[in-house]
Amino acid sequence: MSTIELHGVSRWFGNVVAVNDVTMSIGPGVTGLLGPNGAGKSTLLSMMGGFLPPSSGTVTIDGVPVWRNPELYSGIGLVPETEAMFDAMTAYEFVLANARLHRVDDPASATVAALEQVELIEARDRKVGTFSKGMKQRVKMATALVHKPKVLLLDEPFNGMDPRQRLHLLELLQRLGDEGHTVLFSSHILEEVEDVAGTIEVIVAGRQAASGDFRSIRRLMTERPHQYTVTSSDNRALAAAIIADGSADAVNLTSDVLSIQASDFGRFVHALPRIARDAGIALHDVTPADESLESVFAYLVAR
């Protein structure tokens, strides 16, 4: 098992602070690095990948600093953002070269296995230069997987993939995470992160805005009232009953749904069934309206 540890890491370029005092620990499983563009995700990944030294703080994998330590790369798989590759080589040759550089035993079969994992095995003898963007991303994945590293760092890995490829890659990452690999990927596409990341790290303007499971993060946001949408057999009466009860801050009645805002969600969640039962109203649907990663993210970014 491998853990990536960042302690008080900052990185500045001249006057611009790209990463500001970030401390995080990334262990086995899938972690999503989330943040708006320009927030410092790529900088963080570069530092974890040993391509950028932190201006202050330490970046280590299992206690060993990554900077200037090429030996560590046997255990790290990197999917860089760069699009350029060795265009004149075929996919097979390129991944094979990477396998050999990683000193993999039996590079040929490792290459085939990696290509199969990313579903590029039919295109193995085509030149990389002729590949579409999505295929190039998959080649990059193959080079990152061919030596079966314990740590995978992926910089915007879903870029350019079509929905089916994306699904496939998500499954792959999920499986790797379940097997105990440490997988960290950066993205600003929330649906992807939501589906597969157990933990998220949110970076906004170089600072760590939040970390953990996004539902728990939502619960921690006590200053934001929770929103629910409720449909029932008699919305109007239910609305009146909720207001009378006082467990919600605001109730909004439109033609077919009730939108409810409650800061004390615990109290509200317990009160609602009781109110409905006392009023003889059947609840059809109770959905948290903003427990999506999107709204969490929006709150975090807007702070």
Partner: protein
């Protein structure tokens, strides 16, 4: 020495349009040599002038520049060097593997171009070909090391390399004698001068005696290599602009 890197570098150097420029340059030199032969009636003195000034003084540095920078600068520029660096391979090995290939290619191109050109232009018992062939081989090794380093260090490697090769070694050296002592061209000419010492027809002059020249060639090669390795160790994620 890493065979994979060597193979990759060889592919990159020989597989691109760059190699056609090298071939064209060799052809150009041979045409010039042919012209010289036609114009001067295969006069060895004229041939020497053409080979030393145009061939060795202009063509060989440019060939080495293209090969030396071409072995590393394009990969740094487009970021694909990450595939070589994110591997458990010591930086020193990366640099040495690339350098060996680049030097071999440069030596091959320059020596063949010069030797054949000397034969075409007019030679005296192969002395011109031998002396300038040796000079080209030695110069190529040093030039490639220096230009490789420039390729790692600078984003405008070709222009900087040419400022060195043409402006410094060429123009300035003509005006400021001291400059000549710090020039790969002069160092490499010393062994050539040795070889044709007793030859009355071929006259090659070098500013330095043999031993210091060889020492300086070795020094330049080694120091450039060391700088390249150190620089590559701290190469950060660079995005081309």
């Amino acid at each position: 020495m890493n065979v994979v890197i060597m193979r990759l570098t060889l592919r990159a150097l020989l597989g691109s349009r760059r190699v056609w420029i090298l071939v064209g340059m060799a052809a150009l030199l041979w045409i010039v040599a042919g012209l010289s032969r036609w114009g001067s009636g295969a006069d060895v003195g004229t041939a020497t002038g053409v080979i030393v000034n145009f061939g060795f003084g202009t063509l060989v540095p440019i060939m080495c520049l293209l090969v030396g920078t071409g072995a590393v600068a394009p990969e740094i520029e487009d970021g694909s060097i990450v595939y070589l660096l994110a591997k458990p391979v010591p930086r020193r090995t990366v640099v040495l593997s690339k350098l060996i290939v680049a030097m071999a290619v440069a030596v091959a191109f320059s020596v063949i171009s010069i030797v054949v050109a000397a034969q075409i232009a007019g030679d005296a018992e192969g002395q011109l070909a031998l002396s300038m062939g040796v000079a080209s081989a030695l110069a190529s090794i040093a030039y490639v090391a220096v230009f490789f380093m420039i390729g790692v260090v600078s984003r405008n490697s070709i222009i900087v390399g040419l400022i060195y090769a043409m402006l410094w070694e060429g123009t300035l050296a003509g005006y400021v004698p001291g400059v000549r002592a710090v020039s790969v061209r002069q160092w490499a000419l010393a062994p050539a001068e040795q070889i044709v010492e007793d030859n009355s027809v071929i006259s090659i002059a070098s500013d330095l005696p043999l031993v210091p020249a060889i020492v300086l060639l070795v020094l330049a090669t080694v120091v450039s290599t060391i700088v390249s390795v150190q620089r590559l160790k701290v190469l950060s994620a660079r995005v081309s602009e």
